[in-house]
């Protein structure tokens, strides 16, 4: 039991100091019938090499993204993460620190969060950002609740271009709420939301690039929302896109929610990820999640602390803005380091490279007989309509070692009109050879 420091002799010494006959005696308050009397049907402790062998066995049954051509996106993206990032986040002082409630001995984490908040504010073009949330999907639900608090209205419109999982999460948080209106899927990028806004509307939620890859006109959405006193929530699932696309803040967004996984964080089969949230200065006291602020210490030296915690559950209990009690600290650190390494110059190059690879993919897909590209605009992701259902095609290509994208039907069940749609992403890691292999395989399996 390599993680436990005591010898039996030390345990005996400690029991003597306590005045207890045995460790079991310390569990005297547990009702006797609840004490575990027989051993559980689970294995006993195991040496490191055997545990490692077991885990490697499981990992080996999975097809990793790097194992072959890979075009899967739809809310999580495979990008290169510099070796420096993963080295740094494994330093003890980052990895094994607690929440920085004692600021005098947590300035590393706090200064990093202050830098992170600044980066997110700049990226989104907003006044302030928080210290991160669980992920983009739960952040979207929190943004909807925040907009309701701010406007004291309840009607919320979710665009048909919003990631279906994000929509489902908002619906889950607001179960059976008649004032939550989810518009029909809009795979062609059609406008669907503007004429539904009225003076009871708290917020509209628009994603760009949307789930199907289309770029949405945020300015028009902002103007339409603001004309009725509603707020505009902009969702971004591919944060790299903001290296090339206009900042939501410049278009008049009120709350921006994003998934930050693309910068600094691996795919990890869906988590842990990184929820980004930014808003206007005047809304900050209704924003959920931790905030880090600048101040001085007793000697007048600059330093950082968690602040405005009167919004939070450990102070306000049932009156808190949210029940959230963590951020996604280590993922925020990875994001901040990676973005610090990129800088403006690097992020713009990375975004342009992504767009260039996606253009190459789109052009190649356009040559396949029977394949229709639905996007006039995109960043690094697009939707095609196949002549047959997409799911079996993806399954066939997977057998050839090609992960071809996400069939829309996997997220939108019972919608036959969406069955032939396939969402594909390209990133800086997508090579010409990958695209050639995909096209050849598609031509082979399509009728």
């Amino acid at each position: 039991m390599r993680y436990l420091p005591h010898s039996d002799a030390e345990r005996a010494d400690m029991l003597a100091a306590i005045g207890a006959p045995s460790i079991e005696a310390l569990f005297g308050a547990v009702p006797a019938k609840a004490l575990q009397s027989e051993s559980l049907d689970l294995p006993d402790h195991s040496p490191e090499f055997l545990v490692e062998a077991h885990m490697r066995g499981l990992a080996g049954q999975n097809h990793a993204a790097a194992d072959g051509p890979f075009f899967v996106g739809a809310g999580a993206y495979r990008h290169h993460v510099p070796a420096t990032v993963d080295h740094l986040i494994q330093r003890s002082e980052w990895l094994t620190a607690y929440t920085p409630y004692q600021p005098e001995i947590s300035q590393g984490t706090l200064q990093m969060l202050f830098e992170f908040q600044t980066q997110v504010a700049k990226l989104t073009g907003m006044d302030v950002a928080n210290a991160s949330l669980y992920d983009g999907s739960t952040g979207t639900a929190e943004a909807v609740l925040m907009a309701r608090r701010l406007t004291r209205r309840t009607k919320v419109l979710l665009s048909g271009g919003l990631h279906p999982h994000y929509r489902d999460v908002v619906c889950g948080y607001l179960k059976d709420d008649a004032d939550l209106i989810c518009l029909d899927a809009s795979p062609e990028g059609q406008g669907d939301i503007l004429d539904r806004i009225d003076d009871q509307t708290a917020a509209i939620v628009v994603q760009t690039p949307d789930f199907y890859g289309h770029l949405r006109n945020i300015q028009t959405a902002a103007d339409a929302a603001h004309a009725k006193g509603a707020l505009l929530i902009v969702v971004v699932t591919e944060i790299v896109s903001l290296g090339l696309l206009e900042a939501p803040g410049a278009y008049g967004a009120d709350i921006v929610v994003a998934e930050g996984q693309s910068i600094g964080n691996a795919l990890n089969f869906g988590g842990p990820y990184l929820g980004l949230m930014a808003t206007r200065q005047q809304f900050v006291r209704q924003m959920p999640g931790r905030l880090c602020g600048e101040t001085v210490d007793a000697d007048g030296q600059r330093g950082f602390v968690l602040t405005l915690s009167t919004r939070e559950q450990h102070i306000r209990r049932e009156k808190a803005t949210s029940n959230i009690c963590t951020n996604s600290g280590l993922c925020a650190l990875a994001f901040s380091i990676h973005l610090g390494l990129l800088g403006e110059a690097g992020l713009v190059k990375l975004a342009r490279l992504n767009h260039a690879r996606a253009c190459a993919l789109a052009d190649a897909l356009g040559t396949v007989k029977g394949v229709e590209l639905l996007n006039a605009t995109f960043f690094n992701e697009m939707t095609i309509r196949l002549p047959v259902a997409a799911e079996p095609v993806v399954a066939q290509l997977a057998k050839k070692g090609i992960l071809a994208g996400v069939p829309v039907s996997r997220l939108e069940r019972g919608r036959p009109e969406l069955d032939n749609l396939l969402v594909l992403a390209a990133t800086e890691l997508t090579t010409d050879a990958d695209i050639t292999a995909l096209i050849a395989a598609l031509e082979e399996v399509l009728p």
Partner: protein, 515 residues
């Protein structure tokens, strides 16, 4: 003795100054934006041109203004910043209720295997059978350790798990036609997340007072129960570090009234492998993988909060979940009937599942039980060593994994609990949890965890006793000025909240705003 450049031993010279405080190794590190600029970058990428872009005229016009660092600059910036942090690898964190135990590095190594780290949540299920098997095995361990019927893995943190658990309770009652139940009972000693979660779901919160011995009286629960009560949210072991002796009676009373028992599992570390919460009658309980199962806290997350569910709540588990079929493992991604939908976009914190299962396999069933027992032993040892000086508000029963003291020993000293905690920093220890639980005035909650050796516990207790006698002797200045050995002196938190500065601005922007 150190050597000078000529190889001769150096003396200490004739320096008269204050004691060494290590400041030479604790830099004042400028902000990223004060070091880097928009031209520098630590990443080499080709500069491609695009003949015909598909951006539809939505190109960025707002300057990004993001500072970049070259690789050596970035390495130094983040290494220097890291040195300003306390961490469990560098010292004990006696933080009650937070469970800062050792984070094994095997966990990290396994989480980085490409077969776990480099797989996409939406790639075909046939290509991730090992990932589903891992989730299935983790679920099996969690259900076996708790004797429950189901587990929802996807909650992203403990508070998210609480939300899910209470949503399941609400869904179950709605399905029974009992959606009118609008009250949730929460003992006064509860974590702040409990009432926040209940309120989030539209419940009104009714507080249950604690008994003089720090535990919940089943009689008080019975009196509070009514046809309007949906559930009780009870932490066990509770936040005073005590096992609730009447927990089974409380569960029976709650069930008899048609309500559910939500157990806050933040303190499962104390009883894993020793007591199965299902045997106590719980209906739902979240398990903080970052506390009980050693996944790193990472300076405040990411956590993971799977929720185990009783047979009554199992049908309401959210998607996605893993199902065994004849053809292999399947991922159920769409909910049916009354079941809950999705509470997060994908499968939850896979990276944490890998770490937690690695930890479980390393410890095994026997090791987990021993870890719980050692955690309880350590807390009682600290209590035994300190209780001659530090007042123990609930002395009647042994504590579980954490020892609760109050600050009455500081009465008339002029030293506050906060001052005392900051003085502990000067002695090289992270402070204990203070002012929580709320049921004890000036609470000081110490949770050593099973990771600390007797030697470290003795050092900690020696320091605590030394500080207490200092305070009682009236050496106030050491406390009021503390900390003096940390990278920063006491921070002005009031100033931070009064006029919040939440991001860095260029100097010209700051001076414009001032005008």
């Amino acid at each position: 003795m150190s050597m000078n450049t000529q190889g001769r031993p150096t003396g200490t010279g004739n320096v008269t100054s204050s004691p060494a405080n290590g400041a030479a190794l604790l830099p004042n590190e400028p902000l990223l934006f004060e070091i880097g600029d928009t031209e520098h970058s630590g990443v080499d990428l080709p500069d491609v041109s695009i003949k015909r872009d598909r951006l539809g005229g939505f190109s960025r016009t707002l300057p990004l203004d993001l500072a970049g660092l070259t690789e050596p600059e970035a390495m130094r910036h983040y290494v220097r910043l890291s040195r300003l942090n306390y961490s469990i690898d560098s010292g004990m964190y006696p933080l009650g209720s937070c469970t800062m135990k050792h984070n094994p590095r095997l966990n990290e190594k396994m989480a980085r295997l490409p077969g776990f780290a480099d797989i996409h949540p939406l790639q075909p299920v046939s290509t991730v059978q090992g990932a589903l098997a891992l989730m299935d095995q983790l679920a099996h361990w969690l259900m076996t350790l708790t004797n429950t019927a189901a587990v929802a893995l996807s909650p992203k943190a403990g508070a998210h798990g609480e939300l899910l658990g209470m949503m399941a309770i609400k869904a179950a009652q709605t399905a029974r036609g009992e959606g009118h139940r609008k009250v949730v009972l929460v003992p006064e000693s509860a974590h702040g997340t409990n009432p926040a979660t209940a309120a989030f779901l539209g419940y009104s919160v009714k507080a249950i007072p604690a008994r003089a011995d720090g535990t919940v009286d089943v009689t008080a629960v019975r009196e509070a129960l009514s046809p309007d009560v949906a559930a009780i949210m009870l932490t066990n072991p509770n936040t005073c570090g005590l096992f609730e002796p009447q927990v089974i009676e409380i569960a029976e009373a709650v069930h008899d009234a048609g309500a559910f028992f939500y157990c806050d599992g933040a303190n499962f570390n104390a009883i894993m492998g020793v007591v199965r919460p299902g045997d106590l009658g719980i209906d739902a309980m979240h398990i903080n993988l970052h506390k009980t199962f050693s996944t790193p806290h990472g300076g405040g997350g990411p956590g993971a909060g799977p929720v185990v569910l009783s047979a009554a709540l199992a049908p309401f588990a959210p998607v996605p979940f893993v199902q065994r079929t004849e053809s292999g493992l399947e991922l159920v991604e769409h909910s049916e009937g009354e079941a809950l939908g999705r509470i997060t976009a994908f499968q939850g914190q896979m990276g944490m599942y890998v770490r937690a299962l690695t930890y479980m396999l390393s410890h095994g069933s026997d090791g987990l039980a021993q870890a719980a027992k050692d955690a309880v032993l350590n807390a009682n040892y600290v209590k035994a060593r300190l209780q001659t000086v530090f007042s123990v508000p609930f002395p009647d029963q042994p504590c579980m994994h954490e020892a609760l003291f109050d600050d009455s020993f500081l009465n008339q000293t002029g030293v506050s609990t906060l001052d005392f905690a900051k003085a502990l920093i000067d002695k090289g220890f992270h402070p204990m949890t203070m002012y929580f639980p709320l049921v004890v005035h000036g609470a000081m909650l110490v949770e050593p965890t099973e990771s600390e050796s007797k030697q470290t516990l003795d050092q900690f207790c020696d320091v605590m006793l030394e500080l207490a006698s200092d305070a009682i002797a009236g050496n106030m200045q050491n406390f009021l000025s503390a900390p003096v050995n940390a990278p920063r002196r006491r921070m002005d938190e009031t100033r931070a909240a009064r006029s919040p500065i939440l991001k860095w601005e260029r100097e010209e922007v700051v001076s414009e705003a001032a005008q």
